[in-house]
Subunit: 469 residues, 2 copies
């Protein structure tokens, strides 16, 4: 919908850089157009800007070589996991080399006593959990897509159970990354906590490849809970569902997931997943703990829901019932698309203080209706985070204009109540324009100063998050 | 024990700076020696280096004025909370102005539905919890001392219940800070999570005043648990206690506190607090939750402890029993001093992967014995973090030499097993020398680049964490 900046003409030196990479990496380096087009945006509405070439390193040392060659020829480097980012993070507005991590997909170590593991960035979250299953531990962060852990780290991903387990910010213990000068940075030791200097780990989490290329990640793990209970509860209104969420969290119930689907989203899920959920605002919840613990949590939640006018609360501990329910939740994005086949789905998110959530969701629903648009809503409401799947006919110029206006007002509405323009999708190219309004001039200048300090040559995924002067 | 760098001679311009501050702040500005000496180290063995003057601002705008005057005259600024830091963080090796936050001690807002509050940096943790008590919420981070929340933020403090609630890194939502150029930076919105750019919040948490002067903090709060249970359990060995800790955490018991006292520390506590605890390695635990929940947690912990050879496990839900127990734990530092009256207590900490904790503690106990020193040990063992209270006769040169050697070997031992030189005390001046070995050259260069980008004039608490040029 927007017209991203066109690639600038780069010096002829870049041809020499491509030649050097081709010579070094042979069959693991390609300039084929089809491959390059697969390496710009795959699940987003931001227009694709293919890189000049794609390379598939097999080790951190090879990533170092790639970055050094690129630095010598002023070629941008753009890390690529599995391409599920939503804001144009893997686009190549200035051309350059897409570093695809699919061959760096090894689990390097698991330390069950320490509840941590060490992975290469191409490992996906489902692959990791398959690998861990027989060791009694799991990695909880679940953004929906089977994203790579490198990409999840780089975009500060979170998802359905962040309310209990936190986001990637809370679950990365250490990162190795290749800097723009080709050196390898290790952000921290494997100790559970440290007060030894600036928090480079958190600085790299969410930096979207603009400060360094991640080559190794140490992640926190958790014991697989003895029992898991899940349930659904319809509410008469979004306000009632949000009030129940606030009361649940305030009362210290350690809910693992608490997801809001608005009525339209439930309609979409029913159609797509062949379910018969009540077509009203719905909370999907999940509890982790001991058998007695999850039973008590479920009962307490049920009582709170009833006090807020919700119900009936139906819960399930059988694994197949739970997975059917959560599969439907995970298919929400695809189900949303089913509401208007042939349109483009624009996925966006904001996050606000939870006390403001209900009003923000309701105002957004009204705005959607007044804008004559179709956009089911679902939210990680325990965090105050919600998503729109805006279904737009890109051939209808007036509808595109109305959609653009809606997206702008959504962010304005969030910022006006101390919220953020993105809770978990990241900035990429799509949300750069909001950072000044969100953070103010001093913070944006600080971000630019950090970018300048880490990447004076501006070759690390340039044109994302912040631009240099 | 070490000889910190002497203050360098500063240009005569600093006299003009002092005069300008005196004129502006009148009675809230002082160059009196006694006051200045109170504003360098108060609870640490690092030799004191008083600032040139102390100023007491009443607002963020006044902090801005102070920093602007100091910047104009190249005067260092050193933020001061209540002076409980342990590694020389408030020393003034290059002179300058101590900014004492005792008049900036207002709780600015409490949002119970959002479980957050906004405070000025001079508010102490006990003051905040007193203020919050009738609202059903509390702030959990407890480093022992009644530290200021500004200081706790600046040093990335944690303490006894970090195993459940995390450290300051996990509990600060946003920071306002005055930068070296006098501008005010706001690091984040009040939303629970965000993916909107670099994580400036975490960059300032733990930066010890070297990047900016904190003037406002937004903190996470938690609902006061319905029930709290505490208990103590002796073990035949440190290894057995650590094994019980690992098994407790692996099995997902949400223990709120799990503290190890070695046998000598128990002897000290018994003497100081008039208790009759079994003088063996001891775990003190606390559980937060519902009545049924804490009962179940306590029972499961007791079973695990017994499997590891520990017991009897005695637990108490009565508030007075619990507070007596935890008072003893909090008095551990003072009780340790009681073991050798008249000596200097050197408090230090390291943090290691929990699987390595028992071996590291035992090796350290052996090293203490072989070094003919007295040093009780206590640990936040859920995090792999432990403390030594080393009691040293500073008039005995040989003993001082042996103590220095012990401290060096303690850090070497931690670093050799992927640990950190400090889990929660911070770097200050005392641990700067270990950062290269811990982080490597690339990370240290990155920290210096960040410092240079934020504070090119090098006036923000200079001589702490990293040095420039």
């Amino acid at each position: 919908m927007t017209a991203p900046a066109q690639a600038v003409l780069r010096p002829a030196a870049s041809a020499a850089g491509l030649a050097a990479l081709s010579e070094r990496f042979g069959g693991r380096f390609s300039t084929g157009l089809a491959l390059r087009e697969q390496h710009c945006n795959t699940t987003t509405w931001v227009a694709g800007q293919p890189p000049d070439a794609v390379v598939f390193p097999g080790s951190a040392a090879e990533v170092q070589e790639i970055v050094r060659i690129c630095a010598a020829h002023a070629l941008p480097v753009i890390p690529f996991g599995v391409g599920t980012s939503l804001e144009g993070q893997v686009n190549a507005p200035y051309g350059g080399i897409s570093i695809d991590f699919r061959e760096m997909n090894r689990v390097l170590a698991v330390h069950p006593e320490d509840l941590d593991c060490v992975v290469e960035p191409g490992v996906t979250r489902k692959q990791l959990n398959e690998y861990l299953r027989d060791q009694g531990v799991f990695f909880p962060i679940d953004p929906g897509a089977d994203a790579s852990l490198g990409g999840m780290t780089a975009t500060r991903a979170s998802g359905t159970n962040a309310v209990r387990y936190g986001t990637m910010k809370d679950n990365v213990l250490s990162i190795k990354a290749v800097l723009g000068n080709g050196e390898v940075l290790t952000t921290a030791r494997r100790a559970r906590k440290s007060a030894a200097g600036y928090d480079l780990t958190r600085l790299l989490v969410g930096s979207e490849g603009t400060l360094g290329v991640i080559t190794e990640i140490t992640l926190k793990l958790y014991g697989i809970p003895e029992a898991v209970a899940a349930g659904i509860c319809p509410f008469p209104s979004v306000e009632a569902a949000c009030q129940a969420t606030i009361a649940t969290i305030q009362s210290g119930i350690p809910v693992a997931r608490i997801e809001l689907l608005d009525a339209l989203q439930v309609v979409a899920v029913n159609a797509y997943s062949k379910l018969a959920l009540p077509e009203r605002p719905l909370l999907c919840v999940e509890f982790h703990g001991s058998e007695a613990g999850v039973a008590e949590q479920s009962e307490r939640f049920g009582a709170i829901a009833a006090e807020c006018g919700g119900g009936p609360f139906e819960w399930a501990t059988r694994a197949e019932d739970r997975s059917r329910l959560w599969q439907a939740r995970h298919d929400a994005y695809w189900s949303g698309r089913g509401l208007r086949p042939g349109t483009q789905a624009i996925a966006t998110d904001v996050c606000v203080p939870i006390s403001q959530l209900a009003a923000c969701v309701v105002a957004t629903q009204e705005d959607i209706a007044q804008s004559r648009l179709v956009a089911p809503i679902l939210g990680h409401v325990g965090d105050g985070n919600f998503h729109l799947t805006l279904l737009v006919d890109l051939d209808d110029a007036d509808e595109v204009k109305r959609a653009k206006g809606l997206l702008e007002r959504l962010v304005e509405r969030a910022l006006a109540i101390d919220g953020t323009c993105t809770g978990e999708h990241g900035v990429g190219q799509g949300k750069m324009k909001y950072l000044l309004a969100e953070h103010g001039a001093a913070a944006l200048a600080a971000m630019r100063a950090i970018k300048q300090a880490f990447d004076p040559q501006n070759i690390m995924n340039p044109g994302k998050i912040v631009t240099l002067g």
